[in-house]
């Protein structure tokens, strides 16, 4: 796509019919969790959209976020969106290496001052910046330098959004989130370990369509995707309401698809779109596969108790919320609540000591 073309002109030059474009807009609106009635508005905005420059920085990460995105299930829509942005730097995906690659990053920043989108995956080590460097430049310096001229930052993955696994106790590198360092730019946290690929693309599509920052929740996440919790959207919710829980992964309850709350499901405190957008070509999501949610899109999820401990036994949220969760467990006849209180008392005593 030429820089002087808008998306509508580009698609027509590629032989995409108006029907194809309307289909693209329907899929994009669905991707952005917009109502179908917004398709006409999306079509009008997308047809006139200009190609934004994107600089993608990967810091302390496992490349799972990029893997998630590049393995996503809708290549037609994805590739059109990627054609419609100018991905000027991504050191995992780009062919260029060494000084040429770094020069491309600098050039993109210079040419698109104040307009480019900075995508970051991975956390930033601040105890000793030498723990993670690119081309001899520390992650900290590269982030500060690249952020100063950007329009907005998209922190992709829980590492960039909240510190993630590198930031888990004892946090040997002093890993922090993007928002701990950059405080004068809009930051959109697309958390998840990894995030749902279409959520990453959906945020890029929002920029492309509207050129604005999407509405965010208190943790800086787009409410279109993180506005509701897994539990409220979970198809197993009716079992929770009836107090029907799987007690082990192979008991009768598990076979009947009962609620996984007592097996450690963190759905009630996790905000993400897994239950509706789903994974693997829309095939399912962890709870549908019989495993509880591990709250991978929530801050400090690694440090908040075992993945297989019921919510009431962990360290989620405030003490009041925790006692509330324990009360719910008790009301549902969950023996785990009693263990929760005992373990919580022990944990609090240890913390005070």
């Amino acid at each position: 796509m030429r820089k002087d073309q808008n998306l509508g002109e580009y698609l027509r030059s590629q032989g995409v019919s108006r029907r194809g474009f309307l289909k693209f807009c329907s899929a994009t609106a669905s991707l952005m969790a917009l109502p179908p009635s917004a398709v006409a508005q999306v079509a009008e905005a997308l047809a006139a959209a200009r190609r934004p420059s994107v600089i993608w920085l990967s810091f302390q990460e496992c490349t799972g976020c990029t893997e998630s995105l590049t393995r996503s299930h809708s290549p037609t829509v994805e590739s059109l969106i990627f054609d419609a942005i100018s991905l000027d730097y991504h050191h995992t995906l780009q062919a260029a290496a060494g000084h040429g690659a770094e020069a491309a990053r600098e050039a993109a920043q210079e040419e698109n001052k104040g307009e480019y989108i900075l995508v970051v995956d991975g956390s930033i080590p601040v105890d000793n910046p030498a723990y993670s460097t690119i081309a001899g430049i520390s992650n900290l310096d590269m982030l500060k330098h690249s952020a100063k001229d950007c329009f907005a930052i998209v922190a992709v993955g829980t590492c960039a959004a909240y510190g993630g696994l590198p930031g888990a106790e004892p946090n040997p590198t002093g890993a922090v989130a993007v928002s701990d360092i950059i405080t004068d730019k809009p930051i959109i946290n697309v958390s998840g370990c990894p995030p749902i690929p279409v959520v990453i693309t959906g945020v890029l599509a929002h920029f492309l369509t509207f050129g604005t920052i999407p509405e965010l929740d208190a943790l800086g996440r787009p409410t279109a995707f993180f506005g509701q919790n897994i539990h409220d959207r979970c198809y197993r919710r009716p079992f929770y309401e009836r107090g029907e829980f799987a007690e082990t992964f192979d008991d009768e309850g598990a076979r009947k698809g009962w609620c996984l709350y007592k097996l450690g499901c963190k759905g009630p405190i996790t905000y993400n779109a897994c239950a509706t957008v789903k994974w693997n070509q829309g095939m399912g999501f962890p709870i549908q596969a019989g495993h509880g949610c591990i709250a991978c899109s929530e801050p400090r999820f690694w440090d908040k108790g075992g993945f297989y401990d019921a919510l009431s036994t962990g360290d989620w949220g405030s003490r009041e919320a925790l006692l509330g969760a324990a009360a719910v467990g008790a009301a549902l006849g969950a023996g785990s609540a009693i263990r929760a209180r005992a373990r919580k008392r022990k944990a609090m005593a240890e913390e005070e000591a």
Binding site: S17, L22, K23, A27, S30, P238, R255, K256, T276, Q281
Partner: protein
């Protein structure tokens, strides 16, 4: 039968969302015949248990019209056994479903020839005829 089918897992899960969705379709049909605009429902927007989407599809059944649009991958457009209720499945070039809608309308927009495409067609025809 594949080996996966032999695993004794049953799904007796129901979200309770199937009946309300069918009522929503009924209300949308009444609005349509009452002169109001059509309605589009994104099937991804509400929680459905495994098998419930198939249950909705089975309840709606298949009607007289079935069309396939070949644009950025196939799009299947099926009128259900309830006239005015269309099931639209957008697939990508790899045949994977990218979006699914139920549209309550006289004719889905995607089936109409689009003015931009007609203009492009006129240009091509004129080139062909050398006029």
């Amino acid at each position: 039968m594949s080996s996966l089918d032999t695993i004794p897992v049953t799904t007796e899960v129901a979200t309770g969302n199937v009946a309300p969705l069918l009522h929503e379709i009924r209300h949308a049909l009444k609005r349509l015949t009452g002169g109001e605009e059509g309605t589009s429902i994104d099937l991804k927007s509400l929680p459905l248990a495994p098998g419930e989407e198939e249950r909705i599809e089975a309840t709606l059944g298949t009607g007289e019209v079935r069309a396939e649009v070949d644009a950025l991958g196939p799009t299947l457009i099926q009128e259900t056994s309830y006239p005015g209720v269309w099931l639209i499945t957008h697939k990508n070039v790899d045949d994977a479903v990218v979006a699914r809608f139920i549209e309550v309308t006289f004719i889905p927009e995607l089936l109409r020839s689009q003015p931009e495409d007609i203009d492009a067609g006129i240009d091509r025809l004129e080139n062909e005829l050398g006029s």
